[in-house]
Symmetry: C2
Subunit: 395 residues, 2 copies
């Protein structure tokens, strides 16, 4: 079969590149490298022994249905546990409005599928989560971006873009955003919600890191202010383990109906055995105590990184100060390029993610992401020292 690639594949795949991070990190294979490039949670906190106990318990019964096909929406008692956790935060969510997905990444794919016609507007934060850019890109939206500021998204620009371009939804990560580490102040959340109330768009609130707050006060979800127009994405990847790909979507009834149809066509249901395993874990252990340990450690690691940056980065380099999550965001002086810094850094055995893949339409950017969840305090000090030396030499 001789057929040009253009004719062979669907047009929706044209603009979707291989993962930038994956490609760029192929060079970062030295065993001595200190990597701030990953987006991985710290595996020291994976409750391996507890999950083993849960697996033994679950598989010691005679119920072979734990290994059978299951319903598309997900294991109801697990969805009830998720609803209970929302209630702890003051949010009333019905289990029937929760769909279990393969990590929140699948939530993004399903939302793209049910909402986006080619050319439909999708409002994104700038910088934005690259997994969302990838997932939505396949459905060929018209992206519109609104810059993040210190206290959250730029409200005036948000209002202008919504009013002028009528996007289907705005995709927002109000807590410890990936990649920037920025959180939305309460007033920003309220004002965005109030503004959207009579507009025809959804707020898609992705909250993978919300539980990992190590500083400051928890803020309200958009769902608190505007439940009927807020779609929430959640995941156990950062609080239990990522391997299971266990996430969920909370959506209003009519959206849920479309999501269930799309999920059924996509893969029938999420791994039922690991749904049961996570449910067992949530039943037998105190996840809040577990999360508290993660918060403490990530908080120390974030502080170590901030301290080291203060010591080693040259003047003119600015950065965010996260209150939780796994990332902070560095901005180089105007005219410097993060990709150039990356090439130099790799030679010094330190890695990060240049800002490029977090923009819909920019290249040669002067920003980059640092992850602090996967390195201990000594590694952070040494890695930031190496990186500081690179940035001092950068032109």
């Amino acid at each position: 079969m001789k057929l040009s690639t253009e004719k062979k594949f669907a047009r929706r795949m044209d603009g979707v590149p291989r993962s930038f991070i994956r490609e760029i990190l192929k060079v970062a294979i030295s065993p001595n490298i200190i990597s701030f490039a990953g987006g991985l949670p710290n595996k020291d906190f994976f409750p391996l022994e507890e999950l083993q106990a849960c697996a033994i318990k679950l598989m010691s019964g005679s119920d072979r249905n734990i290994l059978q096909y299951a319903n598309t929406e997900g294991y109801l008692p697990l969805r009830e546990k998720i609803a209970d956790r929302y209630l702890q935060k003051g949010l009333s969510v019905k289990p029937n409005n929760i769909l279990i997905t393969n990590g929140s990444q699948q939530g993004l794919d399903l939302l793209g599928k049910i909402f986006i016609n080619e050319g439909d507007g999708v409002l994104m934060e700038e910088p934005g989560y690259l997994g969302a850019i990838q997932a939505f890109s396949i459905f060929k939206p018209q992206f519109m971006t609104v810059p993040l500021q210190k206290n959250g998204i730029d409200i005036e620009l948000f209002k202008t873009k919504v009013a002028n371009s009528n996007p289907k939804f705005a995709y927002l990560i109000p807590n410890f955003q990936n990649p920037s580490g920025i959180s939305y102040e309460e007033s920003v959340r309220k004002e965005i919600s109030d503004f959207c109330r009579d507009k025809s768009l959804f707020l898609v609130e992705d909250d993978p890191y919300g539980d990992i707050r190590f500083k400051g006060q928890a803020k309200h979800s958009f769902y608190h202010y505007l439940p009927e127009q807020t779609i929430m994405l959640g995941t156990f990847s950062k609080t239990v383990v990522p391997a299971f790909r266990m996430g969920w979507i909370v959506a209003p009834d009519d959206v849920m109906e479309k999501l269930v149809i799309a999920k059924q066509a996509a893969d029938l249901h999420t791994d039922y055995f690991t749904q049961r395993l996570v449910h067992q874990y949530l039943s037998d252990y105190n996840i809040d105590e577990h999360i508290a340990k993660i918060q403490t450690t990530y908080g120390k690691q974030a502080n170590a990184m901030l301290d080291a940056i203060g010591k080693h980065f040259p003047e003119g380099v600015t950065h965010t100060i996260p209150e939780g999550g796994m990332f902070l965001w560095v901005t180089l002086p105007e005219g410097q390029e993060a990709l150039t810094a990356f090439d130099m850094a790799i030679k010094e055995n330190v890695a990060f993610v240049p800002g490029n893949p977090f923009y819909v339409d920019k290249t040669n950017v002067n920003t980059f992401r640092l992850n602090f969840s996967c390195s201990n305090e000594a590694e952070i000090e040494e890695g930031i020292r190496r990186l500081g030396n690179v940035l001092k030499r950068l032109k």
Copy 2:
């Protein structure tokens, strides 16, 4: 937000209904019902104790990376085991050409995504697998259907439709097809492959049941005749357990590249822990011995169903004689309706799936699917007796 459904959702969701089977089986909830409607493997064969031993072993090590994020393609040693199993069947497949998916259902979604532009031709068997109809429908193809005959797809019609309409791919289940139980004779496989060699289409060969052959000789895959144009879908759902959603796609390099991009956008990767668990199971146990037990039992159950049909069904009702898999297909006399029979059957506490959802463009059909993998021989005799009484009364 007041917004009409048409404006709110993407057009691709318009034609995709809620699952027919799910809706119709809502009425089939009596505890006394004998159901031949399911598509479930027999849970008696789920290797619960073996998988528990694997889980304990896997989680007794100190390697917390079994719970971490993993690569998109899937766990390499698992892909090597899958390649080894193909080699046993005489097929040379490189592990790098295997992508682990969430069941073969996700393979269908990914293939739809990377191949189908709105209006592109997709050739389907008639009757066809409803999960594929659902998955592809979302991408708005032009379906063209070719009837199945006793020995496989209608070759002449296949050739005419391919020549006239140039489909992107033909989706075929040559072994014990779902829903019909029909298998393609060797000569049909060869002739289809020979015909397609200089045409610009892929053969998508879905083979969930191929291992469950209880009669006759194994036949060659299309991949044997035409490897560069055959995409194979496989799954452990029918040989190990369905709950894990563990399937795979085998595809040429350029297709694999697009699939990996689409998979990454869809959910990053398939549950890594259960990938490791399946790999452990394949390493520590003899899956061929396990499959042999399934073959024997399903064969007995199929025979029991064929015997009971011979005894209880009225003249004029015809059916297929499967050599493997989980289903057989019944055709009522012209003018009778499977849906009417279904309504009557439910009242007699016996269920099956009316043929309707297995057709792209037909309603009021006179065909239905019977599953024999989930009922024991006594239930099969009694259920078919009840069904025979219904069919005798049917007009």
